[in-house]
């Protein structure tokens, strides 16, 4: 652990559903209130897809922006990994379609399904490929149009989710900057705690909110502490923690447990809601320019499955 760094982030981008939906908007269609939603979740608004947008178009838009930001052509990418649970079809994968759209064809492309922990899993997969030399430049995307699998009439879940995508371009780099450690975990015994059918399926998203909340509040600080301990790093050396944006209350509870100052923790659930696999990469554009070389970023995902994953990244 804490050896060579692999997978240096050289470009970031995001795309969001075209329609801004505020809590007030939801008040008019659901038996809910702005006060209830904001105190229980920290969410003030979220983005929903508009006509012509779906997981694939969001993923492609975020990818194009990340490539442009990196200043590299899509043709130079030799691995596309997309974390998603809302691909419009079982086949082809979203990653194949991203590759086609950006010109990364004839190279490795795969989707990673790990629910809201998806991006952390995808980052682990891609950076391991870069470390092994199987790939040299990876496009890693987290994309979910959650409205495709959420029942918009269910007030307990409809208020929580949003649609978006985030992408990062990872280069092999010079081993000084990149991912240095990952934690991956899953426990299928807890599968009944959360479920959602494929897009188009009548079985919409269900969760045991109480149990999922407890799980998240426990696993989030546990993973951060584990990464710090086994890499001999102090919290001071960490510039940012980017948690999955499920609910501000989960993030606040974990911060209290870790005793982390607020400015270290990236929060955008208030603007975007829970965008599942997109919630972590969606955060990068807001912090990328402020990253300080030598310090660390910890990304923390947790989701249905149950799944959990975290990454330690040296800037």
């Amino acid at each position: 652990m804490n050896g060579r760094a692999a997978g240096r982030i050289v470009g970031v981008g995001r795309a969001l559903g075209g329609r801004v939906v505020t809590n007030r908007d939801l008040e008019t269609v659901l038996d809910t209130s702005d006060e209830w939603i904001s105190t229980r979740t920290g969410i003030r608004e979220r983005r929903f897809v508009t006509d012509g947008q779906d997981t694939v178009t969001l993923a492609v838009e975020a990818s194009r922006k990340a490539l442009a930001h990196a200043g590299v052509p899509g043709e130079s990418v030799d691995l596309v990994v997309c974390a998603t649970s809302t691909g419009p079809a079982s086949m082809p994968s979203v990653a194949c379609l991203i590759g086609e759209a950006v010109g990364a064809v004839g190279v490795g492309a795969l989707d990673v399904a790990a629910a809201c922990a998806g991006f952390s899993y995808a980052a682990a997969v891609a950076s391991s490929m870069l470390e092994s030399g199987v790939a040299r430049r990876a496009l890693v995307v987290g994309a979910d149009a959650m409205t495709a699998i959420v029942d918009q009439r269910d007030r307990s879940t409809a208020v929580l989710f949003g649609d978006g995508a985030g992408a990062v371009v990872l280069d092999s780099g010079d081993e000084s900057s990149g991912f240095v450690d990952h934690i991956l975990g899953a426990d299928g015994r807890m599968a009944p705690l959360g479920y959602a059918g494929h897009p188009g399926n009548g079985d919409k998203l269900y969760q045991n909110g109480r149990e999922v909340f407890k799980f998240a509040v426990r696993i989030f600080p546990e993973m951060v502490e584990k990464l710090l301990a086994r890499n001999g790093i102090s919290l001071e050396e960490v510039q940012y923690i980017i948690p999955h944006q499920a609910n501000a209350r989960i993030i606040q509870a974990a911060m209290r447990k870790l005793d982390v100052p607020e400015e270290k923790v990236v929060i955008n659930v208030d603007r975007f809601g829970n965008t599942s696999a997109a919630s972590i990469p969606i955060s990068y554009p807001d912090i990328y320019e402020s990253l300080e070389p030598g310090r660390y970023v910890i990304t923390v995902g947790f989701g249905f499955g149950l799944t959990w994953a975290a990454n330690l990244y040296r800037i």
């Binding site: 105190t39 229980r40 109480r210 149990e211 909340f213 407890k214 426990r218 209350r249």
Partner: protein, 81 residues
């Protein structure tokens, strides 16, 4: 732990978690009505009790705990030997 010690501990945890003064908390205080805890506060409080007192509180039991006194009762009856 004596009943008094358990009450003191629960009062301390509740005050800290809910951001209120310990003096506002009596055995009769209802978490929801008097201390204005919402459902997620209660989940966090139960988790904190589990940690502090080294016990597992099943959901169906947790739902019956509505006042500080009921929390004290539960801990007293289920303290690890």
């Amino acid at each position: 732990m004596t009943r008094e010690e358990v009450f003191e501990k629960i009062r301390e945890i509740s005050a800290d978690r809910l951001g209120i003064d310990e003096s506002e908390i009596t055995p009769e205080s209802s978490f929801r009505e008097d201390l204005e805890a919402d459902s997620l506060d209660l989940v966090e409080l139960i988790m904190e009790l589990e940690e502090q007192f080294g016990m597992e509180i099943p959901d169906e039991e947790a739902e019956k705990i509505t006042t500080v006194e009921e929390a004290v009762d539960y801990v007293m009856e289920n303290q690890p030997a």
